[in-house]
Structures are given as structure tokens and as C-alpha cells.
Amino acid sequence: MNANAPKSFPNRLGLKGWAYAGRYGLERYLYLGHRLSGLGLIAYMVLHIIETANRIRGEQAWAGLMALFASPPFKVVEYLLFAAAVFHALNGLRLMITELGFFLGKPKEPVYPYSTSVMRHRPLTYIIMVLAGLIILLGGSSLFFK
């Protein structure tokens, strides 16, 4: 066997492995939220492209569809999509900051109790999530109240 061959780490947990955070905590649940919101957004995008193709059937068909989307259940769906988009975008920003190693502070001697990069980024995580929450609330106010 080639010693330089990349090791394979099979996903033994399967589907459960996507949802189980184990000892990873908050960031792992944000990762799960990122996936779920991403899946919701791409599913919506595909449906949105198919649904807006309805304009080819003419003005009446378009007006009927728009009237349906103005109904309260669709307003709620629209808001959930907005919330998913805001969460996905801001959590994505956090992931890029994490991957690029920003805001980690100066390197320190590894003295017990150790400070991990996850914990050094934790305040940033809180700030970004509070910001996401505020934008979601503000967005809802202008979507539901005229």
C-alpha cells in the first residue's frame, strides 16, 4: 500500500452524522443551520425559476400567480426564505472569516488552559448571529407592515 495515499475517513454515521453535534457545540449547529437554509434556498430558487416561467402563458396567468403569492400563507413562506437567506449569508461570512484566519489574535504559547481558535472566534460568532437576528426582525417589519 502506498504510504502517501490520502487516508479515507468514511462517514459511518450516515444521515445522522449531518445532525449530530457531539462535543462540537454551537458552531456545529450553525453548520447544520447553514446546510438546511442552503438546501431550502436552492429548492426555492429552482421552484422560483419554474414558477416565474409562467409569464410566458400571458398576463392573466401571471396576475393569478401574483394574487396567490400575495396571500398570507405565502407571505409567511416569503419571510422564512428571507430569514434563511440572511442567516445563510451572515453565517457564510463567519465561515469565510474563520477559514481565512481573521480575528484570531496574536499567536500565544500553548499554556493550559488552552485557548482554541473556536473559542477565540466565539465573540464574533455571537455578534454575527445577533446581527442576523436584528436584520431578520427588521426585514419582517417592512414585509408585513406597510
Binding site: R12, G38, M45, V46, A53, E78, F82, S142
Partner: protein
């Protein structure tokens, strides 16, 4: 190298989506805030066709379609490929997602072009 390139494209799509989706939200969902017209008016057939006749809208929407579909479907591919799949099945997932993406992109592009020529 191929995977690195695909991942880089996934990241490159982000600023494009942020700007263009922001514009889309502003036009379609926040028209009262940004354009001083009601959401119903912004979504009416006449206004939608009027907007769709501009070259900028044609180009930007096709770009948003490409960036959004690539970013989203690349993400779906990553999630599915985490499952313990055989190499043949992994290849089938790649091809299936590519064909699906191309089909939806073609449909979206056709509708955008149809609106532009209306």
C-alpha cells in the same frame, strides 16, 4: 486541482449573488422602500415586462441565475457526496446535478430572453 477550482468558483459566486440578489430583493420585495411603488405594482405584468426589456436586466439576471445555481447545486453535491457512495454513484451524482443545473439554467435564460424580446 479540479476540486480546488470548483471550490474557488463556489466562493467566487458569493459576491455576485450578494450584489445581484440584494438588487432583486430591493426591486421585487422592498419596492416601497427603494422605489416608492407598492409590491403589487412592482410585480405587475406591465412593470415586470418593462424592466425585463433592459439589457442590464437581461445580463444581470442571467449572471444571477448562473451564480446562484452553481453555488447552490455545488453545495448540494457536497452534501450528497459526504454519504458513503461508490465511485460510480459519485460520478452519477455529479452528472445528474450538472444536467439538472443546465436544464434549469436553460429554462431561466429562455424566460429572461423571452421577456427581453416581448
Amino acid at each position: 486541482m479540479r476540486e480546488t477550482r470548483l471550490w474557488s468558483l463556489h466562493l467566487l459566486a458569493i459576491p455576485i449573488i450578494l450584489v445581484l440578489l440584494g438588487m432583486h430583493f430591493a426591486i421585487m420585495h422592498y419596492a416601497p422602500v427603494f422605489y416608492g411603488m407598492s409590491v403589487e405594482e412592482a410585480r405587475s405584468f406591465e412593470v415586470m415586462i418593462e424592466r425585463g426589456r433592459s439589457v442590464a436586466q437581461l445580463v444581470l439576471y442571467i449572471l444571477l441565475l448562473a451564480a446562484g445555481l452553481y453555488h447552490g447545486l455545488y453545495g448540494v453535491r457536497g452534501i450528497i457526496r459526504e454519504l458513503p457512495l461508490t465511485p460510480v454513484l459519485s460520478k452519477a451524482v455529479d452528472i445528474g446535478i450538472l444536467l439538472f443545473g443546465l436544464f434549469i439554467f436553460a429554462l431561466g435564460t429562455y424566460v429572461t430572453w423571452w421577456t427581453f424580446r416581448y
